[in-house]
Symmetry: C2
Subunit: 364 residues, 2 copies
Amino acid sequence: MENKIYSETLILKLKEPLKLKCGKTLNNIEIAYETYGKLNENKDNAILVLHALTGDAHAAYYHKDSKKPGWWNDMIGENKAFDTSKYFIISSNILGGCKGTTGPSSINPETNKPYALDFPVITVEDMVNVQKRLIDFFGIKKLIVAGGSMGGMQALEWSIKFPDIVEKTIIIASSARLNAQSIAFNAVMRNAILTDVNFNNGNYYDKKHPESGLAIARMIGHITYLCEEAMIKKFGREFKDKPNFDFGIDFQVESYLEHQGQIFVDRFDANSYLYITKALDYYDPIKEYGSLENALKDTKSKFLIISFSTDWLFTTKQAKQMVNALVKINKDVSFVELESKCGHDAFLLEFDKQTKIIKSFLRG
Amino acid sequence: MENKIYSETLILKLKEPLKLKCGKTLNNIEIAYETYGKLNENKDNAILVLHALTGDAHAAYYHKDSKKPGWWNDMIGENKAFDTSKYFIISSNILGGCKGTTGPSSINPETNKPYALDFPVITVEDMVNVQKRLIDFFGIKKLIVAGGSMGGMQALEWSIKFPDIVEKTIIIASSARLNAQSIAFNAVMRNAILTDVNFNNGNYYDKKHPESGLAIARMIGHITYLCEEAMIKKFGREFKDKPNFDFGIDFQVESYLEHQGQIFVDRFDANSYLYITKALDYYDPIKEYGSLENALKDTKSKFLIISFSTDWLFTTKQAKQMVNALVKINKDVSFVELESKCGHDAFLLEFDKQTKIIKSFLRG
């Protein structure tokens, strides 16, 4: 049995304001972060792990008050994919989040109230610029970046924006940009929040929160994170009990979604959900640079791109779009499509398969 | 240019009550229906077309007050797939609907108010039993049944329940039962309606309707009716105008979904949406009869089963499950997977391809 190792989320307060992509400037940014392992003297053994939509800085180890470890605990630790005996691993909550880094639920210093919808619309590029401040704070000049889903987009953006720093880039279950279907799902999820009677134009912090809308958003999300195979394995068409002939919970899959919705509203801020999904929608280096090849032309990183066979939210086809662009411009890229029955969730579940490949890539 | 032919929706009032699958009995059932073409003297040239989730009796021709023809107008008419010069085509609104046939928005004769959630939970089997009354009213003893999506489930049920009447069965873009993913989508759609502040336990008929919830349900529905190819073709990642950096409509796909949601709430009843999706969830002849082979063993019909290559709501795999069962028990079945870029919507759009195959099947 693994000995429990404890971690703590720390806060870095930025002194300098940050100019955002939307044109606005954000002051008093705070970054919530954790680290695992030790930074060496040369400061060249750092890995920045980048979380997905609803993740946080707590990527590994345990918090004193929690039974569950961090979201990538099976990937971060001694002898794991991201080996803490060799590497200094950093994880931070994204800009716009609600887990310690400045976001719409943070206090606006100008009003002493939560920003709510006065928070500027942020982008993946802005998230990465905030992370860069954290990396600078540590004095790190060489970096490995790794992330799944939206974390993979951040990793891609790191490689593009900071080619002199990023030496290795690991992009898992991700894409250079969302397709129209994903934008559509995000739009419906936001609509559920925006039309919740308790949304109150985002000013719900001292009132009842838009829990119904946020729960619906989460339920939709979970459908897209699973796949037919996972659904069949987990639930099939099994009833929780028997047909009720009413509109309560009938099937096990309904019970699962209801539960996921309920636990989510206790841990996540509806406004953050709006901002982060919008950042996902907007990210598009292909449009930004004219082509993916052009976006990636100055990168100096080696790339590892991993997709999962049953992931229909970030498909192998989308992963290959990045691979093909990198191959076309003679960059060093490895690509693996892993067989999995877990859908998009695989990047949070298929540790053995990912570990082998990542270890080999980090050694190489 | 086609001459406009007009049709009218008629009402048949059933004298006898109907015993439902849930155990309850429904009185005073009214059936809204239309017919196209003429019933011959032998009464053996009838085709019953069966509509999908939000369809109605108005399958073909024009209504005096409407610019748009019926939902399968391209399939029903002289020389069309369902040729009105040969066949007598009947279309009726399903039980539980809101387009003339008795449903939750109908007046409950016991209270003189709309049933709302006092309406009993109905099933696909109940829908078919109501349609049988309509067929009996015409004195029809031999019948062809045809439907897409949920209409295909009704066609399947007709072939199982009334083997002595059904001679040909056409099942398009459908399945013997929903998979867990579709049940999950239905659950979330119902959740959006049930948690709408205006839902009021279904008693909203004299008040503001649960429009936000119903619109969200419809948006989710539309995502599942399309496919990646259709999304790319229709919208790609195009902005309606330019990035707004707010939570209004940014992308064209958002504008499309918003529009679809808005026009839907004007034409459909939220309670009907609850009842019909529940009927979809429950339909499961495999469980009911122990196996699909056993369910189909007494059928005397010839079968035509059509699927579409990009339909991910009712997949080719699901269509093949029906085909394989029929083959196994030596029934006469034809199967075609049509190439299409329209996703599930293809059964309402790909007329040329369907027409050829259906004409050939009806001749054969």
